[in-house]
Symmetry: C2
Subunit: 219 residues, 2 copies
């Protein structure tokens, strides 16, 4: 009984997310669903990405938080159109919430939309929002046992950014183990080692994104 | 319709959690529900706590993970009775899952039961498991904006351990801001600054726990 309710919600969400994706595709937008634990560095990655790519790509951002608009304010300060969704308790974004923001954007003016999900390594992986790619961040401060413990997000993501590598000298964490276990779960995962603080390793991510967004905009 | 389903689940859980708590209380057990984001240091805190208090308190542990038994193996290595719950996808423990472990423990032999929840700063705060106190960990690597962004867990917890203070020189995080914003949400919160790695600050936590557990065992 409980299971059938959950399945209905997931199926209904899938339909709405697919409609969102069709609409994004019609406008040639690349859409990313950016996910991680709280504090792994999603908003900082976005700030760095906006700074690096603002001359190449016209970006929009949808910020998901349970409450507060601190992240949206950080993004707005970069001169990028941004909408804050407050879920009011819900632990993930879904297709409906994304659809509700559509009136706030002019899709013709955008090449790339990044949806920053609620900080949570579990539930957001189950709910599509209309993205082309799921991108996840794992901070080295979270430890190298996380792929085995939270496999769904690693399985669903196309890109894994291993962040805060500037802290590697101070924490017990093997990047090799993270990579090995992540690739066991998802052999197609593209992995970048980065520090959003120092900028180390971000060029590979910028290149990946630029190529995908330009292909999307051309389509 | 969706809302009523969710409410039913929460109410049903509340009833089961209350029954669990009654049973724990009958045996004079203190029960903690230990919660945090992935990788904030729950299992390491438990390891340190077992080492420090094993002569004073007879402890049991229930480990909650989506999958894997790595944490239970770490606890078992300390010579403590431990049961692993694999939620198989679910992002939090609930009263039913805890009840299912009861056959594995001999409550008469225990003073303290710690339930280590799934790593998630959102959902576990909504589901009681039968605990006397909720205890949360926030790592300084997660950033000082977390109370405002994830208020429910701060609101529901009796104790906040601010962990990984050994990393403070290398991250942008104000402990004062964490405390100020946490206490705005929950003025009754007891806060300890700790490093589970170096052991700094843990004595205050051990004292807090020893007092509560001895009061529980005497009841």
């Amino acid at each position: 009984m409980k299971i059938s309710v959950v399945r209905d919600i997931l199926e209904a969400n899938e339909r709405i997310a697919d409609q969102n994706r069709d609409l994004f595709n019609e406008h040639g937008l690349l859409v990313l669903n950016l996910m991680s634990s709280p504090g792994a560095g999603k908003t900082t990655l976005l700030e760095k990405t906006i700074e690096a790519l603002k001359d190449d790509l016209k970006m929009g951002v949808i910020e998901g938080d349970i409450q507060s608009s601190q992240d949206a304010e950080r993004i707005a300060a970069k001169g990028i159109p941004v909408v804050q969704i407050n879920t009011g308790g819900a632990c993930h974004l879904d297709g409906n919430m994304i659809r509700d923001t559509f009136g706030e954007f002019n899709f013709q003016d955008l090449d790339l939309m990044v949806v920053e999900n609620v900080g949570n390594l579990v539930c957001p992986a189950e709910f599509k929002v209309g993205e082309d790619f799921k991108v996840m961040i794992l901070s080295v401060t979270e430890g190298d046992d996380k792929p085995a413990k939270y496999p769904l997000m690693f399985h669903e993501s196309s890109v894994l950014l291993i962040n805060k590598i500037d802290l590697l000298p101070y924490v017990d964490c093997s990047i090799d183990k993270i990579k090995e276990e992540s690739l066991k779960i998802n052999p197609d995962l593209t992995i970048f080692d980065v520090s959003c603080k120092t900028g180390e390793g971000l060029d590979g991510w910028f290149d990946w994104l630029r190529k995908r967004a330009q292909a999307g905009a051309a389509a």
